[in-house]
Amino acid sequence: MNHCNNPLEVSRRRVLAAGAAIGGLVLAGCASTPAGPSIGRVVVVGGGFGGATAARYLRLWGGNVDVTLVERNAEFVSCPMSNLVLGGYRQMADITRGYGGLKALGVKVVQGEVVAIDAAARKVRLASGAELAYDRLVVSPGIDFMNEQIGGLAAALDKGSVVHAWKAGPQTVALRKQLVDMADGGVYALSIPKVPYRCPPGPYERACMVASYLKTAKPRSKVLVLDANPEITSKKGLFQRAFDQHYKGILEYRPNSEIKEVSGTVAKLEFEDVKADVLNVVPPQRAGDLARTAGLVNINNRWAGVNWQTMESTALPGVHVLGDATFPAPLMPKSGHMANQQAKVAAAAIIQLLKGEAVSATPVVMNTCYSFVTAKDVVHVASVHQYDAAEKTFKTVPGSGGVSAGANQIEGRYALSWAQNIWNDMLA
């Protein structure tokens, strides 16, 4: 069956194809369709680190797989490196990439929003009302926020008096503007939710980048880190050292400081009110809205369970879930790097499932997160996770992985190269 028509005209195409089969007619071919019969239709929802990588590798590895990527935004904006924009060390253009590379590879890119999944009929419905049929579906919806857990937060975010900047894009621009507009002597407060949340070291990197900016641009200002956790949740020693070495007198770190309510730019904790000039609240998180409405969320009413060998949902057959929305294997971080790795496990498995072959019995994923502690000095955390067939999960390899010996500028260059290479790996 030829799938080269407008991907949104699924119903019409199916009717035409059925008619063609009965009548013995042949549908007109189109130039972009590779020779040979398609082995199947895959719809990918979400064009971030997980979804874009899945779309690309389905084309690279699958040969003639029909791949349609549905993404809300016209361009990809990277969360990793977005803290450099907040510090003034990079511009939005540096962390923004288009979907042209995927289109050139034969991925049909549809700008839109999937609002419903019919797993029985194997089709998705878009907000526009259009429907897309699939043989296998990939859902990489990222995270959404549990704003209801913090009094007044939803309204404050709507109003723009408080920003999260935990999804890169307009929120990143808004927070940078607030920091630039803040008077010297002002207080920037950053509220960190309890684990698990997207990008464990991200908040501490952000605290460093904002402190680095304020240290030179507005030296009388303060960074106040209000952490709901009892201690720094990632690369603790390295961040602690950076706070002491570079930001003494500017940055104050407060553990066990869970925000309960916001009022204007006042953060209300259990026993005190903290007045800020710029209030940046990273809200508690759960799997993206689509995962919830589609019935993919089946763990703690918060995350999507998956079969780690294939990334297929444990709730809906034929649907593969990637990235931050999944309930993680032990010690597996919610990171763009990990989403990219999971996407390749899924792409390999989907191709084999479409061909009726056995899926790989021994998948491997690994993670690296680089964090800037100054404009040039970087620290990393890395881990390697091998699939354990007996326990049906990924497990870190004893003795492998770890963190930097200390912050250093060589890894500063590696971090920037990491970004270029992973963006290429998902979008080139």
């Binding site: 590798y57 390749k344 998948p363 491997v364």
Partner: protein, 102 residues
């Protein structure tokens, strides 16, 4: 012969060869775990080491040196210890067979 019986017989014969076909992707899948830093199929940009077209012996030796600590590293000594020697061999042979991009 009834075509359905023929198909069933072929499927039985095809069983073991499908398992071999699955193994054929192992090196590719393992090498893909390196791509985030070293580029798709080992075609890295920037300060990362390109691996496409590098001889398998050289990659295997370098990784062994990272594991032993003979070759100082920022991160590769930690990552190398996450893979078996057999996996490193497969990855190295995969990258050696890749064409460096222009």
């Amino acid at each position: 012969m009834n075509p359905w019986i023929l198909a069933a017989a072929l499927a039985l014969v095809a069983g073991p060869s499908l398992a071999v076909a699955q193994d054929a992707h192992l090196a590719r899948n393992l090498a893909a775990t390196c791509a985030n830093c070293h580029g798709t199929n080992g075609n890295a940009v920037g300060d990362m080491k390109p691996l496409a077209g590098v001889s398998a012996e050289k990659i295997v030796a370098l990784v062994a040196d990272y594991r032993s600590g003979n070759q100082p590293a920022t991160i590769m000594h930690q990552i190398a210890k996450g893979y078996t020697e057999a996996q490193i061999r497969l990855v190295a042979e995969y990258f050696a067979a890749q064409k460096p991009a222009k």
